[in-house]
Amino acid sequence: MATISTVRIQSEPFDVAAEAVKITRGRTDAGAVVTFTGICRGDENGEPIAALTLEHYPGMAETEIESHVAEAAARWPLIGVTVIHRYGRLVPGEDIMMVVTVSSHRAAAFEAADFLMDYLKTRAPFWKQVEKAGATTWVEAKAEDDAAAERWTTGKPEAAE
């Protein structure tokens, strides 16, 4: 199945509903649309956050995300996948990133979105800086997130068989 895939890294906000419609418009084979939106929270471990700044490696980030999108499209029967990731300074309540997956059936759309989310939230080529009480610190990679991402490294999902 040819999967319509789009990856964008941008500083501007995105419109997740509009991105979903770009995939589904005018077709009748799409039965399930899953969207995930990651939002900048106002606190981390109980401490208030003033802002989050995301840095990326232009060129490399797109390529890396595209290769994971291609992997999702190979594992699950997807009609379309869109990933948009923002960079720059984001304040609490602002959207950080989004994933849309569209498939004929819900299991494929769900599992592919979960797979991409685990990757994007843990190993995507971004570095995060948190502003708290005037101090700015770089976020370190979390072991917990890595464990979630590792679920995908062994075997194939049921839906792909």
Partner: protein
């Protein structure tokens, strides 16, 4: 003999070195990524600070992840950065 390599820095590696990128004349004795880290570390305090714990430094040659023992080969661009944290 030497050649010029574009070196890019991200996140706190960039902050510690105080540059986003630079062209570095790399002598032929520098063969691997690890050799380049050692070479850069000798260039000044800011480099020594950035590379003080080489274990947490990640590198990419021409935008692909590489290991410390990877040879620079025909690389035109190399980047150093901390582990990626996702969005």
């Amino acid at each position: 003999m030497s050649r010029t390599l574009k070196v890019r820095y991200f996140a706190w590696v960039r902050e510690r070195i105080g540059k986003t990128d630079e062209d570095v004349d790399v002598p032929d004795s520098v063969v691997t990524v690890a050799d380049l880290v050692t070479f850069l570390t000798a260039r000044g305090e800011e480099y020594a600070y950035a590379f003080e714990n080489p274990k947490v430094i990640r590198a990419a040659i021409d935008r692909k992840h590489v290991k410390p023992q990877t040879a620079l080969g025909q690389a035109t661009e190399i980047a150093f950065f901390p582990p990626m944290t996702g969005g």
